[in-house]
């Protein structure tokens, strides 16, 4: 791949999704675009970029951008953090909710394992949560990933990453193809939506808890700041954003600060109380 081709694709990913792709990771670009190259009959990424320049097509550009994203995910990623969410954060938020109802946003869920993991935990804690209504909205920029997520159908390798065999048997059905599909109850409990974290206008609504784990860390610092600040517009009063293990917004934005009550959670800081980032 020519340097100019890599630069064009890296610029596209950065401007559309905030994702920073280091030149040392150019091999990733070729791998991630391989299915589009094959399908469209391009011999190389150079041909793909030349075609995109000659005949601009916003829909195709969006597809290429989505394909450049990392789709790495698994069930119960950083399971202790997810466990704390269900045993600590959600019960605390429910106590403060007059309606006994919470709205949770799982941002950047790729093929949906994060959202299904949460739905499984909520199912397992249903008694302790006393029938509270918890709505899960799960978003990703990639239409193809969301198709998999909505179907809740996973192959041999994906289904085994992070999921115990007991949960597999309890919450999934084996299809004739050998794949495993999430139960109808789990699928019905999650609303999947295509959404770009950098899109200011998308009307997703407001949420009591936002899970945005291992999403912002792939972005450049300025885009991470923009995405985090845009997420604050989706925060209901007293809501929190949960980041991935080891992820931080310290030094990135002054709009959010670590919660004193919930480890790994970040709270909105009103204007006038913000320290310089």
């Amino acid at each position: 791949m020519q340097e100019a081709t890599f630069a064009a694709l890296a610029d596209l990913a950065l401007s559309k999704t905030g994702q920073y792709i280091s030149p040392s990771k150019s091999y990733l670009v070729e791998t991630r675009l391989s299915s589009i190259l094959r399908r469209e009959g391009f011999a190389s990424c150079d041909d793909l970029v030349a075609c995109m320049k000659a005949r601009p097509n916003p829909i195709f550009e969006t597809e290429v951008t989505a394909a450049l994203q990392t789709h790495q995910t698994s069930f119960f990623r950083c399971r202790d953090d997810l466990g704390r969410l269900v045993s600590d954060v959600i019960p605390h938020k429910l106590k403060r909710s007059k309606a006994g109802r919470l709205k949770v946003l799982c941002a950047g869920v790729s093929t949906g394992q994060e959202a299904y993991s949460l739905a499984i935990l909520l199912n397992e804690h249903a008694q302790a949560l006393r029938g509270a209504r918890i709505d899960i909205t799960a978003t990703d920029i990639c239409k193809q990933s969301l198709t998999t997520a909505r179907a809740g159908t996973y192959g041999h390798f994906d289904i085994q990453h992070g999921l115990s065999v007991h949960r597999l048997l309890q919450h999934f059905t084996q299809l004739e193809t050998g794949q495993w599909q999430a139960s109808e109850e789990l699928r019905r409990g999650i609303g999947f939506r295509q959404h770009n974290l950098l899109d200011e206008d998308a009307p997703l609504g407001q949420f009591d808890i936002i899970l945005c784990r291992h999403v912002l860390s792939g972005m450049s610092k300025s885009m991470r700041q923009r995405a985090a600040e845009l997420l604050t517009a989706k925060m209901a009063s007293e809501s929190v954003i949960i980041l991935g293990h080891g992820e931080t917004l310290t030094g990135v934005t002054s709009w959010l600060e670590p919660s004193r009550r919930h480890r790994g959670a970040w709270m909105y800081v009103p204007e006038g109380q913000r320290k310089v980032a």
Binding site: S74, H156, F157, Q160, H161, G162, L163, S164, V165, H166, L168, L169, Q174, G178
Partner: protein
């Protein structure tokens, strides 16, 4: 150091699994079938057993039932590892005393994840 007994009649599977599990800080022992594995367990009960289903002499399921009847046989975590991946086989393995089930083929992430499920890593 914890010990892992890898029971499989395929030398390749024993080597591949052995390398992955050794990287998780386990001392590896190997057995070529259920009877060989039972003899090794009677000498020293391992902390975990990674167990194939279809093997000559004594298959995985017969070994599983036999080892659970041994003194200290309830101690090891037993992770079935098989190409028999339909719901009925998996259910039978669990009912017979397995703690986890790995569907072959597997990779290092899957083995690590399954060992984590049974509290070994």
């Amino acid at each position: 150091m914890k010990t892992c007994l890898i029971v499989d009649d395929s030398r390749v599977v024993r080597k591949v699994a052995g390398r992955i599990v050794a990287n998780l800080d386990f001392q590896i022992q190997e057995a070529v079938d259920g009877a060989d594995a039972l003899a090794k367990c009677r000498e020293l009960m391992p902390d975990v057993i990674l167990l194939d289903w279809n093997m000559p002499v004594m298959n995985g399921l017969d070994f599983l039932r036999a080892v659970r009847r041994e003194k200290d046989g309830a101690t090891p975590k037993i992770v079935f590892c098989s190409t028999e991946t339909d719901r009925d086989h998996i259910t039978e393995a669990l009912r017979s005393g397995a703690d986890e089930f790995v569907m072959k083929p597997f990779d290092s992430d899957i083995l690590q994840s399954k060992f984590a499920e049974v509290g070994l890593v």
